[in-house]
């Protein structure tokens, strides 16, 4: 009997499953970049075309840093996976308008080097790299990073406080409507809640972002914000103001939802988002800083391994 395998076919052998969803990391990363487009457009509309130079600088230095470190560590250079571009865009979008390009470049180098590559690259980092870069800049250039500009003015625009700073230091409450559209003072991509929501809902709808983190953050903010607002509506802002102010919306949809630095489990995601909102409210209302989204997310990033450990799902049918 002829036992030879028919030589005209070359068959692949592997164990099941033999089909795949075709979902890839690269595709997901570029979809996130696409989802940032509305925020980039809002930055240009409200703060001028020049702001693109900040984004450009940030992205280029993120890419260069990643390439250099991969090269030094003799690892495959994976710039096309889009993750360094995300970090660059995210960092640029949470910087103030007209921010120094030199400082931006430094922030980008820190974000990739200390935020991501030092842990071993994509997938191994504990903290959100863009927020690590932003936190470094906050410490290194405290004045530059809190110099805000009114929207709709060119390079020599007038300094102006953000709604949160105005509330904290001047006890002035900003109207909510322009905060939704983005016609206020603030970081480049953060001012327009509308642009952020468009991009964020897109990511949830196509399945890149799990709905649990944004939903629990928004619900958390509505609950914790409401508690203080009900206690004293004169001193404390409404939960809706809190939702739209500062980097909350941007953090909700683009920072806290980062795959790598957020929990694995469904329950963990809910707890993670909820606690971020709690910390944000505490920092905003009782801390020395007007805004707390960045620190809240970074702090909760550190708790992710612990959250994963204690929220592992109950095995189907098991009693626990």
């Amino acid at each position: 009997m002829d036992n030879a395998v028919n030589p005209t076919y070359r068959l692949e052998l592997s164990s099941s499953p033999h089909i795949h969803s075709r979902w890839t990391v690269k595709q997901s990363m570029w979809l996130v970049n696409l989802a940032l487009l509305p925020s980039i457009i809002s930055a240009v509309i409200f703060f001028g075309i020049f702001q693109l130079s900040i984004l450009f600088t940030s992205v280029v230095f993120c890419l260069l840093t990643e390439a250099a470190i991969k090269y030094l560590r003799k690892r495959q250079i994976t710039l096309m996976d889009g993750s360094a571009v995300i970090t660059g865009l995210l960092l640029g979008l949470i910087l103030p308008p007209n921010f120094s390009l030199v400082s931006t470049a430094i922030g980008a180098v820190v974000a990739i080097a200390l935020g991501k590559e030092i842990f071993g690259g994509l997938g191994n980092n504990i903290f959100n790299p863009a927020l690590v870069g932003r936190a470094f800049l906050q410490a290194a250039f405290p004045v530059g990073i809190t110099t805000w500009h009114q929207p709709n003015y060119a390079l020599d625009s007038v300094s102006s406080a953000t709604p949160l700073a105005a509330l904290k230091f001047d006890k002035v409450l900003t109207d909510i409507t322009p905060m939704f559209w983005g016609n206020i003072s603030g970081s480049l991509g953060e001012t327009s809640a509308l642009a952020v929501i468009i991009g964020g809902l897109f990511l949830i709808f196509i399945g890149v972002v799990n709905w649990r983190v944004p939903v629990s953050m928004i619900v958390g903010m509505l609950i914790f914000g409401s508690i203080f607002w009900i206690i004293d509506p004169v001193i404390y802002p409404s939960p809706f103001f809190q939702l739209l102010a500062g980097g909350f919306m941007f953090g909700t949809f683009f920072m806290a939802t980062d795959w790598v630095s957020s929990p694995l489990t469904s329950r963990g995601m809910l707890i993670f988002g909820f606690l971020i909102s709690f910390i944000v409210v505490i920092i905003r209302l009782f801390g020395g800083l007007p805004e707390g989204v960045m620190y809240a997310i970074l702090l909760m990033n550190a708790f992710v391994p612990l959250i994963n450990k204690y929220t592992s799902p109950k095995i189907f049918g098991a009693e626990k």
Binding site: D2, R10, I19, S28, W259, L264, S312, P313, A318
Partner: protein, 454 residues
Amino acid sequence: MRISEVFSLIEIIAMKKTFKGGVHPHEMKALTEKKAFEKMPAGKQVILPLSQHLGKSAVPIVKKGSIIKKGELIANGDGFISAPVHSPISGVVSKISQNPNLGGIYKDAVIIDVKEDEETDYLSALNPETITAEEIIERVKTAGIVGQGGAAFPTYVKLMPPKDKKIDLLIINGCECEPYLTRDYRFMIETPEKLIGGIKLIMKALGINKANIGIEDNKPEAIKKLNEKLSGQSEIEVKSLKTKYPQGAEKMLIKSITGKEVAPGKLPLDHGIVIQNIGTACSVYDAVVNGIPQIEAFMTVSGLGINEPKNLIVNVGTPINEILDYCGGVNEKAVKLVAGGPMMGVAQSDFNAPITKATSGLLVLTHEEAGDNEASNCLRCGKCVEACPLDLMPTKLARLTQLERFEEAEEAGILVCMECGTCTFQCPANIPLVQWIRLGKQSALKIKKEKQSA
């Protein structure tokens, strides 16, 4: 595909019958679902493996030169969990030798040269109205019937639950949640009377009067047809289930139909439930009413790599290459040959391997369908955790296996995994999660056994 997740949320809220997790692969059933079963003529030879079932190999009772009639017994079952083998054709035993089985391992097989002969040697036909439970079980045993859902477990064993387990529900698995496969669908469309007759016999054997047929809602024709045939009787009920892989897994099916969760280490029996496949029920009917032992496999031959996808009735023991030739041959885009479905089937290396009683599909896949991407780091996106129908953490289990921390893996439930492949299917980093878990399970099981014997 992602949009469907939104719908699945709505459906859970709307109390649609389903389970948590799962995925939606491209169904690919359109390739064959409209094609009626076609009997493939016998070739020159059949290769009958003595182990076509779970359990001990059958023991041959023929030798070289024995003249065999179609339907004749050629090997007896050995022990409790085993099944006899019958010849699907008339002919002469050419030899008994080691032959590659599906999966490429060499195992004993009886090879029979086909001789033209109309005569058959079937079992006696029995009257389904007057037959007793014991007679049904005996017939299912002597006809060599094994489960056609994938594991090929001897069917008669499942009809004899331990005395202390009270059975009250028979579930017939008509989900066919594996993509491509349409044979269960064709059974439901073409021979609903036979199917219902088989179900009634199984109910009689179990001494119960309640059965549910679980069918995914992507087969509305089958649901409609069976409901028509079943109108006016309350014993057998069709349950329309959400189309989602792995809806046809035992635990998922029980959860969707009854809401009960079968705990790790427990069996459907412990909840008073017996599950049988659609094809198995039809085989039971044929064995009892027509006296035909299980000598034919009903299968879907599909995939973009085969020229004429078909639903076929094939003699057990027919080599794969003859089946592929009968289906117009393989085109040049083919890269993979799979016996079974694309999610849990076994990739084949040898075109001469014979199909067995439980072969439900033969797929020839192209690069477009089965192409692989390089794996990257885990990004901890949680998609595998969300998709796992048994609520395990696949990425954690795979990682613990890589680190050879098998005891921790066991604590995390690695032995509960049913290897449905949902996690690997879903992973954006293309990590072979279930493959790692499979590896880890073996070591974890070994360690567990050593501990127990110590």
